[in-house]
């Protein structure tokens, strides 16, 4: 039965190549891929022609199993196509439709070539559906994997970008945190901070959480871990930049930060200066001149 279907399908694809390709190109042109302007029609047609040729070859040599060796070149081509679609920012629908829009032209061609033999036609349609569905799914898998890769890379870049340790004064470091704290980021933050404490021989580190959108129990736990690790190295930590709403949420959640905390980075810096025995004084002369 299945060999039959593959045979019928292959014969149809060979005999009716021009008509199927034309119909497919029309379907692709009417689809949404071109409208976004991310790909040219000529390129789309070249891709369609390549895929069609490889599909026919694969059917001729390896039957209907889209996971088999004979489909390898076709799978590779489709993977390349969907990978580039993912990077170019196509929607999943556009990407999947590239394969699925081949169905209609093939079904029409099957109806033409075997209109006298109903069972052959059914077998052909079944075979085409099976192969194309599998190929469509593979396309989607590659598409999603590529997208996830892009997201992962961006996440990594953000993590690297957003954990700077700033030296405010001799022995005073500031760590402005931006974005949500998860355990992976906490690890990076902690390592950066501790290394900076060693490098700068810092006594006090100010962790500023103005840029942290929410503080829940988990984030608080991560903060406390960082503070504890810094303390083990011999440096004190001050947490600053707790916004009023966050302070309320924390109290309502019962989150307790058992560290010195200040509302603003400026306040925390003041405390740090005092603790290291320093003082900021207004220059008397300057104030008098202004008067």
């Amino acid at each position: 039965m299945s060999m039959d279907g593959a045979g019928v399908l292959e014969r149809t694809l060979t005999e009716d190549e021009a008509a199927i390709l034309d119909a497919w190109n029309v379907a692709l042109r009417e689809g949404t891929s071109l409208r976004s302007g991310r790909i040219r029609e000529a390129e789309l047609q070249t891709q369609a022609k390549t895929v069609f040729g490889q599909l026919r070859d694969a059917l001729a040599s390896g039957g209907l199993d889209a996971d088999s060796e004979s489909f390898a070149p076709l799978r590779e081509t489709l993977a390349d196509i969907s990978r580039s679609r993912a990077i170019q920012g196509f929607t999943p629908t556009d990407t999947a439709n590239f394969v699925f829009s081949l169905k209609e032209p093939i079904f029409a061609a099957l109806a033409r070539t075997s209109d006298t033999d109903a069972s052959a036609q059914v077998a052909g349609v079944w075979a085409a559906g099976k192969v194309l569905d599998r190929l469509g799914l593979q396309t989607m898998e590659v598409f999603l994997a590529s997208r996830e890769e892009v997201i992962g890379r961006q996440g990594q870049e953000i993590a690297e970008l957003s954990t700077p340790v700033v030296r405010l004064w001799d022995g005073i470091l500031a760590l402005p945190l931006i974005g949500t704290l998860d355990s992976a980021r906490t690890g990076i933050v902690m390592e950066n901070l501790l290394q900076a404490i060693v490098d700068e021989e810092a006594e006090i580190a100010i962790i500023d959480i103005t840029g942290v959108p929410t503080v829940d129990t988990l984030v608080a736990q991560h903060l406390l871990k960082t503070v504890a690790a810094a303390r083990l190295m011999g440096a004190d930590c001050i947490v600053s930049g707790i916004r009023p709403q966050i302070a309320q949420t924390m109290v309502h959640l019962g989150v307790e930060l058992n560290v010195v905390s200040k509302a603003t980075l400026a306040d925390a810096f003041g405390v740090a200066l005092r603790r290291t025995g320093r003082k900021v004084v207004r220059q008397q002369a300057a104030t008098e001149e202004r008067r």
Binding site: G187, M190, E191, L194, Q195, I197, V198, E201, A202, E203, K225, A228, A229, A230, R231, L232, M233, G234, A235
Partner: protein, 132 residues
Amino acid sequence: MDRIPILKLGGVLIVTIQVDMHDRLAMALEEDLTAMIARTGARGVLIEISALEIVDSFIGRMLVSIAAVSRVLDAETVVAGMRPAVAITLVELGLELIGIRTALNVERGMALMQARLAEEDRHGSDRDGLED
């Protein structure tokens, strides 16, 4: 069996750990240190661990217990020079060495100890009410 040498400098005992700590070495150190505090009447213990690369929960517990024993014998413990990786490991193990004072290096540790001893001398034996 190897022993970790304990140096006496003024009223402070200094221990630098420069080998991999294994459990028996750690226990021997605790014993030696306790005996030494009792014999010399030292007021402080400075443990320098910048060469220590690997810690486990036992070593962490040992540090806490040395600090506790020293406190009973009226000596303050300062741990100096902990590496970032060691600090992270201890925190992940949940051992935050509560009750132990820490310093970035020996110099800071000694300064901390001396400031503390001077303060105690000034205020007599009332040491607990004088945090910062």
